[in-house]
């Protein structure tokens, strides 16, 4: 009974996060400007990170936690570098 509730909740939240990822991809493709695309990429990183945490719950493995942590780190570095690029035209001066 309890594992039915849990697996239902996990698959529902994975579906919802998948819809959120699709919406972020739509904004990433549509634009209209570069800063919108960077923002959509940041949102996509976040949704992927949360999706990995739910995968970790559904398989009871803590290895997904480390993947989620790495994705969180990459999200910070990628968005900061892209914002710097939009501001100055190059990343490392």
């Amino acid at each position: 009974m309890t594992s039915t509730i849990l697996s239902l909740a996990i698959s529902t939240s994975q579906l919802v996060l998948g819809i959120a990822m699709c919406l972020s991809c739509w904004r990433l493709i549509k634009g209209p400007r570069a800063q919108d695309r960077v923002l959509a990429l940041d949102s996509l990183y976040l949704n992927a990170m949360l999706m990995l945490v739910t995968f970790g719950i559904s398989t009871s493995q803590t290895i997904y936690f480390e993947a989620a942590l790495v994705i969180g780190l990459l999200s910070f570095v990628a968005t900061a570098a892209l914002a710097k690029f939009l501001m100055r035209g190059e990343v490392i001066e």
């Binding site: 009974m1 309890t2 594992s3 509730i5 849990l6 697996s7 239902l8 909740a9 996990i10 529902t12 939240s13 994975q14 919802v16 996060l17 819809i19 959120a20 919406l23 972020s24 739509w26 904004r27 400007r33 570069a34 800063q35 919108d36 960077v38 923002l39 959509a40 940041d42 949102s43 976040l46 949704n47 990170m49 949360l50 945490v53 739910t54 970790g56 719950i57 559904s58 398989t59 009871s60 493995q61 803590t62 936690f65 989620a68 942590l69 969180g72 780190l73 999200s75 910070f76 968005t79 900061a80 892209l82 914002a83 710097k84 939009l86 501001m87």
Partner: protein, 124 residues
């Protein structure tokens, strides 16, 4: 799904509620990202996901692993603290870059915002 541990009833319901709340809040933030008309409105929406959406899902993960392994498992706090610290930094950098680009092209951002506000109230 066979790998799910059997949890006591209160823990299973708590984990399920936290997961659903976090996923729905994140979805609300992403809908805001797609629906708002200007960039300066859109940049506010995904922070719903980075604050409360991430917090609820990570708390669900903490409860699940703590109850199923019968010891406190708190390493999800690392992600929570990191995301909470870095989101304002990256979004502030991005907003300043967008403002710089708009000004460099001669757009008056404040006048555009007033115009959009007026258009919304008159129903265009």
């Amino acid at each position: 799904m066979n790998a799910l541990h059997a949890l006591p009833e209160w823990a299973a319901i708590l984990v399920a509620l936290c997961l659903l709340a976090g996923a729905l809040i994140t979805l609300a933030g992403t809908i805001g990202l797609t629906r708002f008309p200007t960039f300066y409105q859109r940049i506010h929406a995904p922070t719903l996901g980075t604050s409360f959406g991430a917090a609820f899902i990570l708390v669900a993960s903490m409860i699940y692993f703590s109850v199923s392994e019968a010891r406190p498992v708190l390493h999800e706090l690392l992600i929570l603290i990191f995301v909470t610290i870095t989101t304002p930094i990256t979004l502030m950098l991005l907003a300043r870059a967008a403002l710089y680009r708009d000004r460099a092209e001669g757009h008056d951002v404040a006048a555009d915002a007033v115009e959009a506000e007026r258009g919304e109230t008159t129903g265009h």
